[in-house]
Amino acid sequence: MLNTYTWPEYPYVQSDDQKNGTVKRKPVIVIGAGLIGLSAALDCARLGIPVIILDDNNTVSIGSRAVCYAKRPLEIWDRLGIADKMVEKGISWNVGKVFFKEDLAYEFDLLPEKGHKMPAMINLQQYYCEEFLVDEVMKHSDLIDLRWKHKLISLTQHDDHTSLQVETPDGIFTMECDWMIACDGANSMVRDMVKADFTGQFFQDRFLIADVVMKADFPTERWFWFDPTFHKNQSALLHKQSDDVWRLDFQMGWDADPKEATKPENVIPLIKAMLGNDTEFELEWVSIYQFACRRIDNFRYGRILFAGDAAHQVSPFGARGANTGIQDIDNLTWKLKMVMDGDAPIEFMDSYDEERAFAADDNLLNSTRSTDFITPKSKSSRIFRDAVLELSKKYEFARPLVNSGRLSMPTPYVNSSLNTADEDGFEAGVAPGTNCADAPIIADGAEGWLLNKLSDDFTVLVFGDAPDKSEIKLGNIRAQVITVGAQIEDKAGLLTQRYDAEDGAVYLIRPDHHVAARWRKFDEGKIIAALARATGQK
């Protein structure tokens, strides 16, 4: 039982579909009302797509689970109108300390770059994020129908739709949808139902997570211990969350008995050893887990699209689970909208798999590397690991080799088939396939941020002479022209700098705020060709 948080219980309501026994096909059904499913529904609603979410439970995440949220997902949530709330409730932090045995090895400062609306990283319990998302979903009841206690029990895929059997407290009934977004987590039922492969590496280790409440004046920093004296031959982590809740993480080894390890009489001595005997705390939540690094073989199965943990599972080091899941949604929704509107062929959805599988592989690589450093797999790798840590105490050169988790960064889609390769020289700036850097601007006489000003359609961001067009069109696909110096001003010079635009630049930006193409000069023909490429037109 938590002292700091009361779980909301959302009401089950029998739907008209079930009551009337009629099957009316829905445009989009999302399976799972977790972080990813709720974000998917909100992003669909933002684009005007009506959506139904089915969840087999009726509350938010049990336990704090995902804790760190990085800048890019916060930017995505900002478009959905909830990032300010999360940043306000969350804890910002920049300093991390790494300990080896009894000593501080070194400390680091994330030194976040100035001039971005969103912070580099916040810590917040997953249940708060989900609650904020649910609150926002309720505000969009015209487009989003969130149905609790609706459990998917089977599905049948057809050429142009999927039919579902759904169980509620009132029994089983049938639903149909044009598209399904499966956000039903690491143990995804949908993934099993389409018989997708979900393979990778399992790690023979167990980790114990404990959330404790304490008022002790530990600084708001991330502390990571390798082989500490209080927990020999293992690793441990201390990290602050909201409401004076602290996340503690203990590596337990493969032989640990999950049932025994989570008993308070075994957990509390471990925590006391870490925090010191005099530190007062209350235990809020304990969980033990083992993890795997794996991904689904294809993010798209016909008209079923997989996102979040349903599509990929990583180790927790680096906070790469939820953060990358939100970015799946960012990539998925605008593409789905174009296909649903008939503005792109159905095969365009394969680019969702292309780009997000690429990102998932990058996350898996990073997460596996962290795991190999934290839990060396052989005697010789343990010797190298300890040598790195020993050297890092005295010598700066060894510190970049220390890997207690590489914090989540967006993966640029460098090889994406939607990109148009650079033909003009760019030394820096935002390369095709990369998410747009934010920068402070002035628009309509008020201070603001670039990302808030970019269009929900495509944007042509022009540095230099303003073209005589306010939009470029390819069929129904629109790209809104925004010229720096006309519609927006570069408030601090950072915009020009971040886009390498001293000598003029024209960026074609996708609806998910990733660069599709860029040139030094405005050329409508080239923009249209790049627009066609970025939307799968052939």
Partner: protein, 61 residues
């Protein structure tokens, strides 16, 4: 190949003796720790990724 496989070590006999002498009275585990540190220190000095890759492959073959 960017790896230098020509003679480059100054006073080779002195260097070799120093290395062997240093490890003469060490336990096997300590030797391994020292070797690991030495590899890391020298790798940082070299820095260039291609050179390091070639050296690792060469050592394994």
């Amino acid at each position: 190949m960017s790896l230098n496989l020509k003679r480059n070590i100054e006073r080779p006999d002195d260097f070799y003796q120093e290395l062997i002498d240093m490890q003469r009275d060490m336990e096997e585990d300590q030797v391994q720790v020292m070797n690991a540190k030495l590899i890391l220190i020298l790798s940082n000095h070299i820095g260039d990724h291609k050179t390091l890759s070639e050296a690792m492959s060469l050592a394994k073959s």
